[in-house]
């Protein structure tokens, strides 16, 4: 006879608080940040929790640029490190996102999206940072962008974000929206062993053999923490396998191509989606974040009304999960992309569609959510 399963700890948490649970479950021990609505609860919660975590460190920096700098420094020193922000801070972080991508420094950045450009609508939801998350830092660089739609997903996708950051030595951006971040839901708190947790590969060869940016099978070179006896050079300049600046065309090409390949080769692992009744769908809704929750109800109601509707929830936004989207577009008469912006992820859907089927967008930019009935009107 097996012992009765221990009752799991439950909590009534904000999406932002759930992010902290996910981060700690993933092994995060370092947080640097700057307060900004609507992400601040992540920082406040980290300030309370990290002093009690073995080796935990927390620091409030002077701005978002500095926050990212500190996160990069901590990651180079071997920590799993993160920061969180919202639109205006996200714009300031772009410089360092590019540096993290170029130097292949693992980190997690949570951007709780609010409405509008500039200071915009600080306390309202938006999804206007999707294209910026992909292309905000200058120059060609790969990046991983994830999203979450509810509180349990905030835990799960934060763990995933850390896992991807460590596995692929890449900055990972988790896009939330004000609704998801500020919705309080009951969840079961993660216990050790609930999630598979990855840590970066460290070198096993003697230090004198180590080449920090060497080509490897996976395209992801091992990464020792600073101070562990492997002395090497890290630079945002285009570098050779030893890490030193280079402008030799063949070395420049090899570096950039490897950086893209290390992500491109693992689409199967990285691109996470959820199919809801898409197998026979003639109308497909493609959504992410809080809008996916409205879409879920709309699709259910459309089914009840006799419309063969389906929903594809994108949990990975970039690399754009073309392999999941394209087959659906080939088999439906209508695809609907509801978003809290003027049409950002729908650009990707239209690009993949190549004019094959009708793609309709629902765009809302007034700081209000897209309701199930608004979506239902378009699909039924």
């Amino acid at each position: 006879m097996t012992a009765p399963r221990k009752k799991r700890r439950e909590a009534f948490l904000l999406g932002n608080e759930a992010v902290v649970e996910g981060a700690l479950a993933a092994g995060c021990t370092f947080y640097a940040g700057y307060p900004i609505t609507p992400s601040t609860e992540i920082m406040e919660c980290m300030a309370k929790r990290l002093p009690h975590v073995p080796d935990g460190a927390f620091i409030q920096m002077e701005d978002e640029i500095a926050s990212m700098g500190a996160v990069i420094g901590a990651s180079l020193a071997g920590r799993k490190a993160m920061t969180a922000t919202s639109g205006p801070g996200f714009s300031l972080m772009q410089e360092q996102i590019g540096y993290a991508a170029m130097t292949e420094t693992p980190l997690v950045l949570v951007n709780v999206m609010r409405g509008g450009a500039s200071t915009g609508l600080p306390t309202s939801p938006g999804q206007g940072d999707v294209q910026q998350a992909r292309w905000g830092a200058h120059g060609d660089h790969p990046i991983i962008v994830l999203s979450a739609a509810d509180v349990p997903e905030c835990v799960e996708m934060t763990v995933t974000a850390f896992n991807f950051a460590e596995k692929y030595r890449s900055p990972v951006i988790l896009l939330l929206d004000e609704i998801t971040a500020h919705t309080r839901e009951k969840i079961e708190l993660p216990e050790p062993g609930d999630f598979e947790v990855f840590s970066r590969l460290t070198p096993t060869m003697p230090p004198e053999w180590y080449k920090p940016y060497e080509e490897t099978m996976r395209g992801v070179p091992p990464m020792p923490p600073i101070g562990s006896g492997y002395r090497f050079h890290v630079t945002g300049l285009t570098h050779d396998p030893l890490g030193f600046p280079t402008s030799r065309p063949e070395e420049v090409r090899a570096l950039t191509e490897r950086q893209f390949r290390k992500i491109d080769r693992f689409f199967e692992d990285i691109q996470i989606v959820e199919h809801v009744e898409t197998a026979d769908a003639e109308v497909v809704v493609i959504a992410y974040g809080c809008v996916a929750r409205s879409a879920r109800l709309a699709v259910k109601q459309a089914r009840e009304a006799g419309v063969r509707a389906g929903l594809l929830v994108l949990k990975t936004l970039y690399p754009f999960p073309r392999r999941h989207v394209e087959p659906l577009l080939r088999n439906c008469r209508l695809a609907v992309v509801p978003e809290l912006n003027m049409g950002q992820l729908s650009r990707e859907v239209k690009r993949v569609n190549e004019g094959y089927t009708t793609v309709r967008t629902i765009n809302r930019i007034d700081g209000q959510i897209i309701t199930p009935s608004q979506i239902l009107k378009e699909i039924a």
Binding site: P51, G73, I226, L242, F244
Partner: protein, 278 residues
């Protein structure tokens, strides 16, 4: 000479492509030497030393030395250094920056690093000019001096780095020059050993981008200018006429624990409280 050769073999990277990027007459190589000599004098293991550099001529120093080296973005060296020190307080973290790096684009990071007294040494190579981009004025270009972006003479006044960092609360503030090398070695070693945030400003001439446009006939003349105008702060303070003179030496010595130590103490106290209650 044999001693210098030994230091070169011990502290400069064998796999790095030399020669240095610095122009003839540049003082940066001397500061690089000072950095190596002070680390050597303190007997710090190479594995425990981290050089975090910014962007500009000074930033290139990081690539040549056989420590853990991080060449960051423009002005952000101190932010990355802060993260490294908080993550691993056992490391000796030295941020190497230029004047544009530390006082212009990175000015906010500098005053906050000083205010929070993170245990990092800031070594600022002040050449009064943006050298790498071809000679534009910086926030330390003296009033009236010429550069490509102030061809009629600088109208703005320069930062007094010593007063700025002193006011911000740094544990240590000092200034040296590449003419007074022995003194610079000592200042740097002292700064690295003192807890909290320590700034060393090293005056280093840029003949190519600054000297030529400001009436200096040669790099040697710039070194002679350093010799003639800089004097120890103790003597400087006794001067009646201080025009054209610059004090060098240590200006601030405060006894403060670095932020990383205060953080560790707080965590220890928390753990003790928790243990006591149980």
């Amino acid at each position: 000479m044999a001693e210098i050769t030994q230091l070169i073999h011990q502290y400069l990277r064998h796999n790095k492509k030399f020669p240095l990027v610095f122009c003839p007459g540049c003082g940066h190589g001397i500061v690089l030497g000072s950095l190596v000599r002070s680390v050597h004098a303190l007997g710090l293991p190479k594995d425990d030393v981290v050089i975090v550099a910014g962007i500009g001529c000074s930033g290139r120093i990081a690539a040549y030395v056989d420590f853990n080296t991080v060449h960051t973005t423009h002005g952000r060296a101190l932010t990355v250094a802060t993260g490294i020190k908080m993550a691993n307080p056992k490391l000796t973290v030295i941020a190497v920056m230029g004047d544009g790096d530390a006082f212009s684009i990175g000015g906010n990071h500098l005053i906050h690093a000083a205010r929070r007294n993170i245990g990092v040494t800031a070594l600022v190579l002040n050449n009064f000019i943006y050298g790498m981009t071809g000679g534009q004025c910086s926030s330390t270009t003296p009033e009236g001096a010429y550069s490509h972006t102030c061809p009629q003479g600088q109208l703005e006044s320069a930062f007094d780095i010593v007063e700025l960092t002193r006011a911000a609360g740094a544990a240590g503030v000092s200034r040296g020059t590449v003419y007074h090398v022995k003194e610079l070695d000592a200042l740097l070693a002292e700064a690295i050993s003192r807890p909290g945030f320590n700034l060393v400003e090293a005056l280093t001439p840029c003949f190519t981008q600054y000297g030529r446009g400001n009436g200096f006939k040669s790099a040697v003349e710039m070194f002679k200018w350093l010799k003639a105008s800089c004097l120890p702060v103790e003597r400087y303070e006794k001067l009646e006429d201080r025009t054209g003179k610059l004090p060098i030496g240590t200006f601030v010595r405060r006894d403060v624990a670095g932020l990383e130590t205060r953080w560790a103490n707080m965590r220890q106290a928390l753990a003790a409280k928790k243990g006591g209650a149980a």
